[in-house]
C-alpha cells in the first residue's frame, strides 16, 4: 500500500492541507507525485489565498502561462525577504491601490512600478543607510508617485494627487505624496545639507507635501520610526514621531517572527481609514483630493437641530506646531440640511441661510477659545435641500 495509491481526490486534499512549500517538495519525490503536485487547481488556490490573484500574473502584472509558474515567480522575486512579510505588504498595497482605483483613479495612475533590488541598493549606498525590511518591500511594490506637467494646474499649483492627502485652511494647502527613491535621495541630501544633520544621519525623506515645502516626513532607517517635521524643523531639526513606538519591531531582522516598521504601520492605517470612510475625497473648487479631516465618529461629531445637520472634526497640524509651546489643530465644520428639510417657526422649509456663528472650542473640557462672527468668514452660506 503506497502513498500514491490513495487516489487523486485524497492526494489533492492532502496537498491542499500542506501548503505551497511542502507541495513544492512533494513534487520532487517521484513522477506520480510530481503530477499531483503540479495540478493547476492547487496552485490557483495557493495564488488566490496567499496573493489574492485570480489570474496567473507576475509581480509586474504581466501574465504567465500557469498559476504554478506565477507562484514560483513571486517566490523567486521576493526570496530575499520573509514570505509572510511580503504577503502583508502586498495586502497593504492592494487595499490602498484598490481604494484609489475605485475612488480616485487619477491618483492611482501616479503610483509607480516597484523599484528593483539594484535601485534600493543604490539608494542605500548613496545615502549610507540600510532601509528597514518592511520599507524595502514597500518600495519593491511601488516606487512612490510620479507626477507629470498636467497634474500641476492653476487650481492645483502643488498638485492634489498625493495618496496621503492633506487639508487646507485660510489658503494654506497641504497635499502629501510618497516620494520615489530618486527623489528620496535628492530631498534627503538637500535637507541634510540645509538642516545640518550629520552626514551619518539615519534619516531619509520619504513623503512631502507638494504644495508647500513645509511638511516633510522622515524615516529613521535604524529604528524604523517615521517622524514629521514641526515648525522648528528649519531651526533645530525638531520632528515628532508618527507611530506608537511600541508597535515597531525587528525592522532589520529577517529571522524574527514579526517585522513591522512605522512606514508599513502608517500606510496600513491610512488604507484602513480610507476604506472605512473615516477619511474621504473632498472637492474644493472643482479639485478633488484626499482630505484628512475625519468624516466618521468618533473623530467626527454630528448634531442635528431643527433639521440642520452640523458635522465637525479637527486635524492636527504638526508642521505649524511647536513641541515646547503649542500644538496647532485646524477644524472643519460642515453644514447641510437633512433630506426632510428644516423647521422654521414650526413650518417646514427646504432652504436655510447661515447668518451668524459662535464656536466654543474646548480642550479636555476646558474652554480654550470662542469664535464669533457672521456667516463664514464674510460669506453667508446658503444651504438648499437637494430635490431629487
Amino acid at each position: 500500500m503506497e502513498l500514491e495509491s490513495v487516489g487523486d481526490l485524497a492526494l489533492n486534499l492532502i496537498l491542499t492541507k500542506l501548503g505551497p512549500e511542502n507541495v513544492g517538495r512533494v513534487a520532487c519525490v517521484n513522477r506520480k507525485l510530481r503530477l499531483s503536485a503540479d495540478e493547476e487547481a492547487l496552485w490557483s488556490r495557493f495564488c488566490s489565498e496567499e496573493l489574492h490573484l485570480s489570474a496567473p500574473l507576475d509581480p509586474r502584472g504581466d501574465p504567465l502561462p500557469s498559476f504554478k509558474a506565477a507562484y514560483k515567480k513571486w517566490r523567486e522575486d521576493f526570496r530575499m525577504y520573509p514570505w509572510p512579510l511580503v504577503k502583508r505588504v502586498k495586502r497593504c498595497w492592494d487595499r490602498l491601490q484598490g481604494w484609489l482605483l475605485t475612488n480616485f483613479p487619477d491618483a492611482a495612475a501616479t503610483l509607480r512600478e516597484g523599484a528593483s533590488e539594484a535601485d534600493i541598493q543604490e539608494l542605500e549606498s548613496v545615502l549610507r543607510v540600510k532601509l528597514p525590511l518592511p520599507t524595502r518591500i514597500l518600495y519593491r511594490f511601488h516606487d512612490g508617485q510620479d507626477f507629470d506637467e498636467s497634474d500641476f494646474t492653476e487650481n492645483t499649483p502643488g498638485g492634489s494627487l498625493g495618496i496621503i492627502g492633506g487639508y487646507s485652511f485660510y489658503g494654506y494647502v497641504v497635499n502629501v505624496n510618497l516620494l520615489p527613491l530618486s527623489k528620496v535621495i535628492m530631498e534627503t541630501n538637500h535637507v541634510v545639507q540645509h538642516l545640518g544633520f550629520s552626514s551619518r544621519s539615519n534619516y531619509i525623506v520619504v513623503a512631502a507635501s507638494s504644495t508647500s515645502g513645509e511638511k516633510l516626513f522622515f524615516l529613521n532607517c535604524r529604528d524604523g520610526q517615521l517622524h514629521v517635521g514641526t515648525r522648528n524643523l528649519p531651526f533645530d531639526g525638531e520632528m515628532m514621531p508618527c507611530v506608537p513606538k511600541s508597535l515597531i519591531s525587528s525592522v532589520h531582522d529577517r529571522n524574527a517572527d514579526l517585522q513591522q516598521d512605522a512606514m508599513l504601520l502608517w500606510l496600513e492605517e491610512h488604507g484602513r481609514r480610507l476604506q472605512s470612510g473615516m477619511i474621504k475625497l473632498r472637492e474644493d473648487g472643482g479639485v478633488r483630493s484626499i482630505c484628512l479631516f475625519p468624516e466618521e465618529p468618533p473623530l467626527c461629531s454630528t448634531a442635528i437641530t431643527n433639521g440642520v445637520r452640523i458635522r465637525s472634526s479637527a486635524v492636527f497640524v504638526p508642521e505649524h506646531s511647536d513641541l515646547q509651546n503649542e500644538y496647532l489643530f485646524a477644524y472643519s465644520i460642515r453644514m447641510s440640511l437633512i433630506p426632510e428639510g428644516c423647521m422654521a417657526n414650526e413650518m417646514p422649509c427646504n432652504f436655510c441661510q447661515l447668518y451668524r456663528r459662535h464656536w466654543i472650542i474646548r480642550a479636555n473640557d476646558a474652554v480654550v477659545a470662542h469664535v464669533n462672527g457672521d456667516g463664514a468668514i464674510g460669506k453667508s452660506l446658503f444651504m438648499r435641500v437637494a430635490l431629487i
Binding site: M1, E2, L3, E4, S5, V6, G7, L9, A10, L13, I14, K17, L18, P20, E21, N22, V23, G24, R25, V26, A27, C28, V29, N30, R31, L33, R34, K72, R75, E76, R79
Partner: protein, 164 residues
Amino acid sequence: MSSSPPPSSAAASPSCPKKMIALRSSDGETFEIEEAAALQSKTLENMIDEDCAGTPIPLPNVTGKILAKVVEFCSKHAEPGVDDESLRAWDAEFVNVEQATVFDYILAANFLEIPTLLNLTCNVVADMIRGKTPDEIRKFFNIKSIFSPEEEEEVRRENHWAFE
C-alpha cells in the same frame, strides 16, 4: 459472522426501534450499523434513500478488518452528546495506527464518501509529510523514485524556492 458491538447511546427517538443496516465486506464478513451512523457515508445514504438497504450491502472495496473500524468511526461520530474535545481525542487514538492502515482508511473513506474520516486521515498523512525533504519523504513512505537525472534536475529547478 461477526458484528460490531451496539452503540451504548440512546437513539434520537426512543420510541422507534433503531434501524440497523447490514454491510458485507469484500471477504464476506457481515457488520451491522445503525442507520444514523450509516448516514455519515454519502454512498450508504444514497443507497438507503433508494431503499436498497434491505439485504446486506456488498462493499467489494473494503475488507472486514477495515470495515469494522469504519463502522466504529461512524457510530462514534453519530453519538449525541459527545463534546468536541473528547471526540478529537478519540479521533487521534483512532488514527494512531500503522501507515498502511491509514491509507486503507483513506481508500474506504473515499469509496464510502465519509468526509469526516477522509479529512481526519488526510490530515494525518499531511502531518507525516510536512517539513520533510523529498529524500525524507521517500524514506518515510518507502517510495522509489524513477526520475531520470534530467527530470530530477528540472523538477529541483522548478521548485528550488520551496527549499529556501
